[in-house]
Amino acid sequence: MSGEDTRARFERIVQPHLGDAYALARWITGDRADAEDVVQEACLRAFRAIGGYAGGNTRAWVLTIVRNTAYTWLARNRNAVVTAVDDLAAIEHANANRAEAAAGGAYAANPESELIATADAARLEAAIAALPAHFRDTLVLRDIQGLDYREIAAVTEVPVGTVMSRLARARQRLVREIEAGE
């Protein structure tokens, strides 16, 4: 592959997604400067791997590399270990709590929705930042970056069913967080 080819491919496949790449890195690391470093490193990886890019969704491909880079970066620089939280028991427990809470009050969807709708940005950001890592990146990819389930499954390298349950848990936690703060 000639240098010109690689350049053209990089411009076509990676460059259009720099904004999304940065936003995802920013949500995962929680820091602007760190996000820039992650994007830079991810782009270098993408550039080296671009000869092997086999086609398909370019955004999902780029975001997969960004996500992996962000987690290795965190592990290296902050000793952070990403714990898996897709523990079935925890999910059942959380769900039981929600059902209990719901049973306690009336199903007044409107005032509740209003409460959610008026949550301020700082509080939202904090609540998202406080989510367990894989809940957070699934939520960010769907509700902020607008990827569909199949794309998220590709980026986070899990089955669609796992994406669905992570997303539902993430949203339920956010809602609880917002309601608790009012």
């Binding site: 411009e11 550039f47 969807a109 949550a119 509700d143 569909d148 389930y149 539902a168």
Partner: protein, 252 residues
């Protein structure tokens, strides 16, 4: 473990509510969960919460944009500093091609002979069948974030979905048509009581920019990014031209 089974069933319904709001369910599952939401306040409340949360996240969070220097820094890192002549040239070439097509008037640009005619017939056929059906659409939504994901799993590539409500062409929904032997996405817009179908065919080999009328319908076709778009409607040619221009010029 008995409790887990019923809990699991509950859990599944909740996941389906989320998938419903995300436009990820096929029509059969969507109808099933709609019925359950109507019957079970618990699920209706979950839907209200998810919709409120999604709206809040969309409207209240500040846009995360990459810092201005990032692109240059990235290009330096990978050793691609300096000129970006290629995309500029491509963009220029694309606009020149567009200008040629636009000025071609009555010329039928078909690099693949007869491909264009056959496609036009198939596209008009899809539009007519849709008008005869109880609903001209398989997914009914004015939200492009619902319509776009709906196509996933049904066709290889989701179409570009554009919101033209502000210009007086509200999105109504989408459906899958079959052209040749290929399932292709059609977006449905409305103008007053007229229905406009936009069928996107990923085939750059039929390069055309042409308006015509056939069987009482006006048809406009144009090509962009390797996809040929066919707009079909009984709307008058002038307004259909306006629609096509808006669609073509809109940011994705």
């Amino acid at each position: 473990m008995m409790a887990v089974t019923t809990q699991g069933e509950d859990d599944r319904a909740i996941l389906l509510v989320h998938a419903y709001v995300d436009g990820e369910l096929d029509p059969a599952n969507a109808i099933a969960i709609e019925q359950r939401m109507a019957a079970e306040p618990r699920l209706a409340a979950e839907r209200a919460r998810v919709e409120a949360l999604r709206r809040t996240l969309r409207e209240r969070l500040p846009q995360q944009t990459a810092p201005p220097g990032l692109e240059a820094r990235v290009l330096r890192t990978v050793g691609l500093t300096g000129t970006r002549a290629r995309p500029t040239w491509l963009a220029l070439a694309a606009s020149v091609m567009l200008a040629i097509f636009a000025s071609s008037g009555g010329t039928w640009f078909a690099l693949q002979p007869s491909g264009g005619e056959g496609t036009a017939e198939a596209v008009i056929g899809g539009h007519m069948r849709a008008l005869m059906a109880p609903q001209p659409i398989d997914v009914a939504s004015s939200d492009r974030h619902t319509v776009k994901p709906w196509f996933n799993g049904r066709i290889p590539q989701s179409p570009r979905v554009i919101d033209l409500a502000q210009d007086g062409f509200p999105l109504v929904g989408g459906r899958v048509d079959v052209v040749g032997r290929m399932p292709v996405p059609s977006l449905v817009y409305s103008r007053r009581q007229h229905v406009i179908s936009v069928t996107a065919i990923p085939d750059a080999s039929v390069a055309i920019d042409k308006s015509q009328s056939a069987r009482g319908f006006n048809v406009i076709a144009w090509t962009a990014d390797g996809v040929t778009y066919w707009a079909v409607s009984d709307l008058n040619p002038g307004e259909l031209q306006t629609f096509a221009r808006l669609f073509r010029d809109a940011a994705p």
